[in-house]
């Protein structure tokens, strides 16, 4: 088998380099994009459960108590498995929310009750590329006496990192 001439070798390297130059960033861009669904699905799950709870409970207990971001630190560019008990907070339990597999977003639930109105805000923060810049999404909902609970459309505070 004859070896490649310098011109042929240069041509091969140029083609392979071009393919890698275009393909590798696109691959990682798509990989990061596909992971966005974790945050959206998480927020949708929280919104569904919160609306259901608000429809069955009186206004003062319509939404479970606020809970700090879980996990406390946003995973930086990697999927992390939470330590046992991370999702055992009564709020997460009552919302039926949690992860048993490695995941990339940190979730927070804040609620308040004032007079005859209660509201909540659930947010998801992620750092898919691990550069310290966080993406953030949230959903809000509220309920008041005699009215069906309302869930507001998705809010994007920073969709790109």
């Amino acid at each position: 088998m004859r070896s490649l001439s310098p011109v042929e070798a240069a041509l091969c390297i140029a083609i392979a380099g071009s393919v890698l130059g275009v393909g590798v960033p696109a691959f990682f861009r798509n990989l990061h994009a596909s992971r966005l669904v974790e945050s959206m699905d998480g927020l949708e799950r929280i919104a569904r459960a919160a609306a259901e709870r608000a429809a069955t409970e009186p206004v003062p207990t319509a939404y479970p108590a606020s809970v700090r971001p879980t996990p406390a630190a946003v995973p930086a560019g990697v999927a992390l498995r939470d330590p046992p008990g991370s999702w055992d907070d009564p709020t997460w339990v009552s919302l039926g929310f949690g992860f048993s597999t490695p995941h990339r977003y940190s979730f927070e639930f804040e609620s308040e009750h004032r007079g005859r109105r209660a509201r909540y805000r659930a947010s998801a923060r992620g750092d898919l590329d691990g550069d310290g810049q966080l993406s953030e999404f949230s959903v809000r909902g509220e309920t008041s006496e005699g009215r069906a609970p309302v869930t507001f459309p998705l809010e994007m505070h920073r969709e790109m990192e």
């Binding site: 861009r29 798509n30 990061h32 994009a33 596909s34 992971r35 966005l36 669904v37 959206m40 699905d41 927020l43 949708e44 919104a47 569904r48 459960a49 609306a51 259901e52 709870r53 429809a55 069955t56 409970e57 339990v93 009552s94 919302l95 039926g96 069906a148 609970p149 309302v150 869930t151 459309p153 998705l154 994007m156 969709e159 790109m160």
Partner: protein
């Protein structure tokens, strides 16, 4: 003549005000152009579901997996481009036609179709319901799917669709939540689903359906919280005579359970049936005597004297 200190302060203050003015003037148009979709039109080369089945050459699950991965990527990219990914429903339609028992697409469908960078449309909510129904048909024992479909149809969708659709969705949502309540699960959110289902059915005037749902829930569920809730609602829903009859039936069933198979769950007991006393029931004539029933239907009608309870 201006004082010297004022002259020294003037340039930085002027610069600051000028800067604020510039930022205020530029922010509006920049924000508008930033929020505008980067891509307006998208061409999808996806085949119709029927042709996708043909094109898969028998590798239906593999193609469904590939298409689902594609949907997740395109869904994420649509946020980057702030554009609506128009072909989402077509993809999900093909995926669920290719692999009807692939559960994940059904569980994600409301997120993929209604949690978008642009506001969801009426057809998105109706498409979501259509796919949920397809999933429930393909996976009738998938408790999480019944819960997801029920919560979506009962609470999230009705507030975003016109009233005739909303009413229908609420009705279907109540039915799905009732079914989710009957299926055994370790989801802590289920008790709320049960309460919600009972209330919705009651509100819709479906008293019989509510009683049936609560009775089934009591028959299969060991969770004390759910049982307490279901009994409470049942007591409110039925009249005194029915309540008395139901109380006697539950007591009789409980005593059989405690006496014969206290170590198994209610679900297992309902599968096993009543345990006849073999030495008394041997022979054709003895098999028809009370105490020799082998099904719960016979047991309720003959032994406990609760006609019609076997339904």
């Amino acid at each position: 003549m201006m004082p010297r200190w004022l002259l020294e302060l003037l340039p930085p203050w002027l610069c600051a005000f000028l800067g604020i003015g510039l930022v205020a003037a530029a922010r509006g148009p920049l924000l508008q152009s930033y929020q505008q979709p980067a891509a307006h039109e998208e061409v999808s080369l996806l085949l119709s579901p029927e042709y996708s089945v043909l094109f898969s050459l028998g590798h239906r699950e593999a193609l469904a997996d590939y298409l689902f991965a594609n949907v997740l990527v395109k869904y994420g990219l649509s946020f980057r481009e702030k554009a609506r990914f128009e072909a989402t429903y077509r993809y999900l339609d093909s995926i669920t036609t290719l692999a009807p028992t692939f559960a994940r697409p059904y569980l994600y469908v409301d997120t993929l179709l209604t949690m978008r960078p642009t506001p969801a449309l009426l057809e998105d909510y109706l498409d979501t319901r259509r796919l949920h129904e397809r999933g429930l048909e393909a996976l009738p024992s998938h408790q999480e799917l019944w819960l997801v479909a029920g919560q979506f149809a009962a609470y999230l969708a009705p507030q975003r669709v016109p009233e005739p659709y909303a009413k229908e969705l609420r009705r279907k949502g109540a039915r799905d939540l009732a079914r989710a309540c009957e299926l055994v699960s370790n989801n802590a959110n289920i008790p709320y689903g049960c309460i919600a289902a009972a209330r919705l059915l009651n509100r819709e005037g479906q008293r019989e359906a509510m009683i049936r749902m609560l009775s089934r829930t009591l028959a299969v569920n060991d969770d004390p919280e759910i049982r307490k809730m279901a009994l409470g609602y049942l007591e409110q829903a039925v009249n005194e005579r029915e309540r008395d009859r139901y109380g006697r039936r539950v007591q009789a069933l409980e005593s059989v359970w405690r006496q014969q198979v206290p170590h198994v769950s209610r679900v297992m007991m309902s599968l096993l049936g009543p345990g006849p006393e073999v030495w008394k029931c041997a022979g054709l004539s003895a098999a028809l005597t009370p105490g020799c029933e082998t099904t719960w239907r016979d047991w309720t009608e003959v032994k406990a004297g609760f006609p019609g309870n076997g339904r």
